[in-house]
Amino acid sequence: MRKKYSLLISLLITALVLLTILHLNGGFNSWNLTDFNSNSTEGIILKELHLPRTIMVLIAGSSLSISGLLMQTYFNNPLAGPSILGISSGSNLFVAITLMSSGIFSSNFSIISAAIIGAIFFSFIILGFSLKVKSTTSLLIVGVMLSAFTSSIVQLIQAESTLDALRSFTIWNFGSVQQVQLDQIPIILIFFFIGFISLIFLIKPLNLLVVGENQAEFLGLNPKKIRWILIIITSIFTGLVTAFCGPISFVGLAVPNLVKLIFKTTNHKTLIIGTLIIGSLFLLICDLLTYSLEDLISIPLNSITSLFGAPIIIWIIIRKKWHD
């Protein structure tokens, strides 16, 4: 079985590397190998536009997919996504408030800060609830209700906003990997790395959670501790992406399901590696499409992820043998 995975993973990594190089050089449209250090316009475009975009798309794809995997394993629910705990709705709310107060003149920095503060704030709310709520199903419902509640507040804010603020908010909701600046990349990488390292320590708990939280507890899992760690790590991964790219949907939902279908295992060592690779590939392909059609038509990133993500989920559900 190990050999089977090695081949598959090597193939996937090769695809990832090739498509990354394609993306870095401008996608199908403007393929153009240039020197990194050149001071020409092409060189500047490569360094300031392409490089952050490529790095961001890989980080966003893998982060969101991993968050989705963590949530799906913890809640034992294939329809759980990174937003299920309501953390991204926190970012949504705070960004809506920021845009309403300053409209189209909001600075990039204030939007990023608002998203991060929103994610942290709502993580605390969920952590607070998690202390009072025992079962995982109840926690899931709390998360979903929190999202719904926040949505209605956001709608209220939108009803009172200027047209400029509304437009900015709508555009933020399109999701974009192009907004990130080159000098923001190091800090993004640091946080991604922190999340990534913690994943190594989550392999065993996640493998135990596969048989349910009760059985896992008998096998030595500390449910309270694991709940906290999962919430914090999901917040880091999801908050990071939402802050710099806006809310990107369907990646966290579709990719883990796809990974399980391809690798046919519950061992999270394999699943995590598979999710990181396939998550990056998925969003990379979506963005390559946006790239290629850029000069003809502007397609929001979220439209493409949904156009691909939803059919994948439907296909998985149809293919699945429901055994309840």
């Binding site: 493998n207 135990l208 048989v211 059985q215 008998f218 030595g220 399980k260 519950t266 061992n267 055994h323």
Partner: protein, 236 residues
Amino acid sequence: MIEIKEVEIGINANLFSIDKVKLEKGKLYSLIGKNGSGKSTFLRTLGEIIPPFKGKIHWEVNSSKEQRISFVTSKFDGVEYLTTYDYIALGRAPYTNIFGKLKSEDHDFIKNICDKLNLNPLLDKFTTEISDGERQIASIAKAICQDTELIILDEPIAFLDYENKIKITQILADITKQRNCCIIHSSHDIDISLIKVDELLIIDSINKELTQYPIEKINKAMVLNIAFPNVQLLDI
């Protein structure tokens, strides 16, 4: 090994009290009582999921909970893409390192148990692809791999056919002797219990007490009298 003295069992109120019960290694215990008498509550108290209503349960050994107690539920529906081997291997979790890595000694241990329980042909299949009875045996194998002093089973044979009921009860009896552990299970199959177990723990819901009876000192009529006083023994 485990001493339960002057303890009351219940969550919000006392369901029944225990004067003195001793659970020893190498013995198979059967817990008998009416529906609602508090069997599951007692097992969960033993399993340290909930505290006793009053009093404390004393253990001789002091190791961590996951190395002392293992718990088998009545029904396991399997998990998609989880192989039987990997499921059973989860039992070794209390002994693996922080990354969950199984050493070769662990693998040997697991394979040994699977061999004894005749699970070898099922090991590569997914837990969703084997039968209920096979899954139950696998769950027991997992509990055995956990190598605990006490194995608790909550109605393990309730959903199985007659053949499997006998088979599993025999397995439980064998394991207590072979691995020198204590196994307690709740059961509605009084006849099978009377043949295979070492001692009965019977809940008298009218007097609200649980008493321990070695198998030599009890028969079916007595069991019914204590646990199900309204039932008349059918002469077949």
